[in-house]
């Protein structure tokens, strides 16, 4: 059952990924990306990471993709669907480069061995609940990265405002 689900998610994610990068209309790409994010959340559920699945849907599907859609509506895309979506002569170079990288990754995967196991076994995480286990790690061991993530988000808010602000005439 788990294997079946894994193959379903893997197939959909790869097929959608290929469709997204070759789709002419960016709006279609963004909407397909939404489906892809839901299937990534399914992967997280298979990996016993319920909190990450929820965050994936809330942040990626709920916030980031809406931002992309709004910017796509602001930008003029009338001639976009008539042009080739790829840069000149870039397509074949890109395919060769991506395939070469994939072969390199496969070699790495083949010779990969896991390190020593940690203390968060599946039973322990299930007993604690995943959100609590994550929270304990984030708010104790990883409190400094957590604060830095907050500052990064603040910088993003200020930067986004400063970039999108219309400059005054003559200033």
């Amino acid at each position: 059952m788990v294997q079946l689900l894994f193959f379903y998610f893997a197939f959909v994610v790869i097929a959608l990924g290929l469709r997204i990068v070759t789709c002419k209309n960016p709006v279609h790409s963004v909407l397909l990306m939404l489906v892809l994010f839901f299937h990534m959340a399914g992967f997280y559920l298979l990996l016993n990471a319920e909190f990450l699945a929820a965050v994936q849907i809330i942040v990626y599907a709920g916030a980031i993709l809406v931002l992309y859609l709004f910017v796509l509506f602001l930008v003029n895309l009338k001639e976009e669907v008539r042009m080739s979506p790829f840069i000149e002569k870039g397509k074949w170079l890109g395919i060769v480069g991506a395939l070469a990288l994939f072969v390199t990754f496969l070699r790495g995967v083949k010779s990969f061995t896991l390190g020593p196991h940690g203390t968060y076994t599946i039973e322990k995480v299930q007993q604690l609940t995943h959100t609590k286990a994550m929270g304990e790690a984030v708010y104790t061991t990883y409190i400094l990265p957590f604060e830095i993530a907050g500052i990064i988000l603040l910088v993003a808010v200020v930067g986004g405002l400063a970039l999108a602000k219309r400059e005054k005439k003559g200033a």
Partner: protein
Amino acid sequence: MVHLSWYLTVSAMLFCIGMFGFLTRRNIIMMLLCIELMLNSVNLNLAAMSHYMEDIRGQVLVFFIIAVAAAEAAIGLGIVVTLFRNYHSVHTEDITKLKG
């Protein structure tokens, strides 16, 4: 039983697809979307490692990556809006001011 290497392979494929899109698409918004694709594949990799190593660190890292991806999307799209306002285009071949 799902092996770790299956997850790693799916993640590698998704990363390569994202890299292909980033290198070849002419629309800057699509390039940013491909970066999200690559970040997602890295997240999947980290979550799978974390699950199979019975350690929570990988998933904490995924959490932080999602936060940074949100910030990156906000700033990147802000830059795209500014570019479109100045050049009336979001295609990479039209933005050649530094070329002289």
